[in-house]
Symmetry: C2
Subunit: 544 residues, 2 copies
């Protein structure tokens, strides 16, 4: 028997770029017809759902199933995902896991193949896996891989590094787009990068770079994530280059994510007076077309994927979301919420429960991190929410804490120790196994006993976050690859709030201490970082 | 085949009042043996779980299944519950629902029969149901009813009101305890109240009333809930009258509840230096004995109900909880959490989905609440977190808002309007169907249009909370009786945070605006209240 439904309201046609009163008829999950008719002015608006055009699901600490559930609450019905983080930890198996989980969700996922695993040499930092050109080629041929994910090695592209070119060739052979990542690249280098076949960039942070990217034929992804916020700089492109702009979050942390997603960027753009069709082209149409996402666009014959919003003002609210004609979110439907939550927490467990998370570190003791500071010590200077650090030399005074990094992959590895300033953890310590891109254990603390306590708690959990305020330990296990939790998204966000409160009690005043900490090992970003191999000068690209 | 487990650690025997190293052997969900042995000093502590000795689950806005899931995360394994709120809305059917749902949880529930439904005359306020002596007698005979719940009508007890005495007689005939509720009652009246067979009181807020209650043979329940906080006043009784004290929360709101429960009171008592055995006697032993709760006390032969805590210091953390030998909480076990969440959201839906919630109110319009204030208007003066109001007379200036109450039970009922001061809702409005004890619709707002908007949203949801900040409407449907949500506890707490933020944007500076609002209709508490029947002078007990 056919399954038929009808909806009446304002229809937002982002292909024909017009809005009209109409009735949508859905038969068996597809748009059967759309007929114009008179509708009440207060009727809701029906439009295609939002697409996050570049996101690392891992940053939400949620599985793809739970990510999808929370995203649809904000009107996002699809996402272009780069499983770069889990690939660094678990290699191909990690990518397979994300793909399998994503297929369990009612959501339009388009996964890419990470192009740079690891992002730097094995001598500089220990990662879980290396994915070379053969591995990339194998994945690029698959139907469930939509694109080659952010090609961070832009000097490699411009200099025609053979491995890089091989990966690009695989993507071209498969007829799939290649994502860029080229902070600050302009002029001839930008042209060459684009000519090599790189067609997007989410690392434009100034309007000049954004315009250069568009000029070279690249689509610019305007990013508003938990840490990086580029909308203010790039929003003029929405009007200047409609069709050459998409919206993305890149990294969206649990606490932020439960509060909003692409809808926040859309609201802001409406508030700033951009044309609604230009905004929705960036928020829905362009990503669907560019990546070939199998999401419906509210056209006759399309799968019935759409959202229902109160209106198109700057304060619009998402009322409902549909995928294949099936309701996946209703702001009033708590039983819909429960049904999806039930599915979300149940479907994933068989897939992840018995999986290795590549965590082999063994407990450390105070002797392992004992160290006497010199008079002219190298000090890492961190600042809130920044991936960058400063390199200071001087005495270790009370403003300086110890930083510890431990290779999580090698059984019996010994920690590396350095000094760091900025976190102001005056009592207690923090440790976590989220540390871009290799996700070793990183810790900062005021005394050795507390440092050992939190590092060993992370080891005991085989991945997670632990904060001690000197008395109470707050923790969050991340049993999936040491970076993802199977918890319900709202419980996860709540646990992150408890961690934030604990680190504040420990003295830290950073707005995003865990994000900041996660970048203190990343050797490709200046100036001074500590990896599991030692203190690395990222300006001169050598160990200190 | 037998199901056997062993645990080793510090055993806290609250019956023999000693702590020793030992091994517990569990066979088929019961304590088979406990043997003393040497244990490591850092071993965890095994002890009976906490009992909330008086709670209205409805205040958590959670179903009993979800209440149990969140409670066990805090080491509470049982609760003595009075389904007074849902009984006012749905009558016997509401009590039956709570009983059925409670049986689906791994938790030691002891439900009582509400003694005062409604809490006042039908001419003063419209309630959903009246439960008379016959109804009470029927329930008191049931095995799943453990006690007669808080006898609020203490003048009726002292004056030997026939209906009140009949209810007491039913409880006595069934051999079940009778709970008290007698704020400020001392001297001869207290003696008479106790002599009538009332054996507990959770309304002692001063040490004098507490001592009077104990002297008269009553057990005092020290209450630390979201609104009422009596620990500071009553804690000396823990040492003065061990065995005559229990701990309770009475009303615990979602945001508070996800953060802690009875464990918070226990930690505070440890911090204040009370004897650990006295504390645990109040937190576990006395309620189990007094109400005959079928919870294990970690004695050989008992059901294996216990919790595992890190230590017995003021900073102890609950690591695990067991019921019938089955793990119902593990601080590290996210898959345990998911399994229970999955059950929690799935088991309840069939029971509640098609149930009436006794919500018949119809949308109102601005004309319904139009009113011209006199020069000498009666003004209700509310204060944060208080059940009491002041009665002022004067002009309606900008510090005064309109208050609206609408009978939710009667189709086509018209709202009553009055003036209220204190909420400071300078733009927008708030409405909710949580309004003790009858749970009609109560609203406060700065202009009629906004008031109509939020009241009608609550009506459209058939119960819930709606807040408008003048632009954006935030809401929470409460589809079960208009007072309970089927959502996951953490999502519910998150939604309450959004409501709180919205009411702050509307101008309200109250710490607990929704709790305060919920008591603005309660006619039994002075001085001036607005019910669905009109403005009521609770001092002279007559309509103004």
């Amino acid at each position: 028997m056919e399954n038929r439904t009808r909806f009446k309201g304002h229809i937002v046609d982002i292909v024909a770029k017009r809005i009209f009163g109409g009735e949508i008829r859905i038969v068996d999950g597809r748009i059967d017809s759309i007929k114009e008719c008179e509708v009440d002015e207060s009727s809701p608006y029906f439009m295609p759902g939002f697409i996050d055009s570049h996101v690392h699901i891992e940053s939400s600490m949620m599985t793809p199933v739970e990510f999808a559930r929370i995203a649809t609450q904000h009107g996002t019905i699809g996402a272009v995902c780069d499983p770069h983080e889990i690939a660094n930890v678990l290699g191909s198996e990690g990518i397979e896991l994300m793909l399998k989980l994503s297929k369990l969700a009612d959501f339009r996922f388009a996964f890419g193949m990470p192009s740079c695993v690891p992002s730097c040499n094995k001598d500089i930092e220990t990662s879980g896996f290396v994915l070379g050109p053969e591995e990339v080629d194998k994945f690029m041929k698959r139907d469930d891989i939509y694109f080659l994910a952010e090609m961070m090695n832009f000097p490699g592209v411009i200099g025609k590094d053979p491995e890089v070119m091989a990966k690009i060739a695989s993507s071209k052979a498969a007829g799939k787009p290649i994502d860029g990542h080229a902070p600050g690249l302009v002029g001839l280098d930008r042209e060459r990068y684009a000519e090599a076949g790189i067609s997007t960039d989410h690392e434009c942070t100034t309007i000049e770079t954004g315009r250069a990217a568009v000029k070279s034929g690249m689509i610019v992804q305007i990013r508003e994530g938990s840490a990086a916020k580029d909308y203010a700089a790039l929003s003029p492109l929405i009007a200047e280059a409609p069709g050459m702009v998409m919206l993305c979050t890149d990294d969206c942390h649990p606490n932020d994510f439960v509060r909003g997603h692409v809808d926040r960027i859309v609201r802001r753009a409406i508030s700033d007076g951009y044309d609604i069709m230009d905004i929705l082209t960036a928020a829905c149409l362009t990503p669907v077309k560019h990546y070939g996402i199998p999401a419906g666009l509210l056209q006759v014959g399309d799968p019935a994927d759409f959202i229902v919003v109160t209106d198109l003002t700057k304060d619009f609210r998402v009322m409902k979301a549909y995928i294949n004609g099936e309701k996946v979110f209703s702001s009033k439907g708590q039983y819909t919420a429960n049904r999806l939550l039930e599915r979300s927490v149940s479907v994933q467990k068989d897939l992840v429960l018995h999986m290795s998370n590549n965590f082999n570190a063994m407990p450390i003791c105070e002797e392992d991190i004992a160290r006497i500071a010199t008079k002219d010590e190298n000090i890492i200077v961190a600042s809130d929410g920044s991936l960058f650090t400063k390199h200071e030399k001087g005495q270790v005074d009370s403003s300086v804490q110890k930083m510890v990094v431990l290779d999580r992959y090698t059984k019996g590895a010994k920690p590396k120790v350095a000094y760091i300033k900025g976190f102001d953890i005056t009592k207690g310590a923090v440790a976590q196994s989220i540390a871009h891109d290799c996700h070793n254990i990183v810790a900062v603390g005021s005394d050795d006993k507390e440092l050992v306590k939190v590092v060993n708690r992370v080891i005991e959990m085989k991945g997670g976050i632990a904060v001690s305020d000197g008395t109470i330990m707050e923790d969050l296990p991340l049993p999936i690859a040491g970076i993802i939790s199977p918890l319900c998204g709202h419980e996860l966000a709540f646990r992150c709030t408890l961690l934030q409160e604990a680190i504040e009690r420990a003295g830290c005043r950073f707005h995003s201490p865990f994000i900041t900490l996660a970048f203190m090992c990343l050797p490709v970003i200046p100036e001074l970082k500590l990896t599991d191999k030692g203190l690395f000068d990222s300006v001169n690209f050598k160990f200190v």
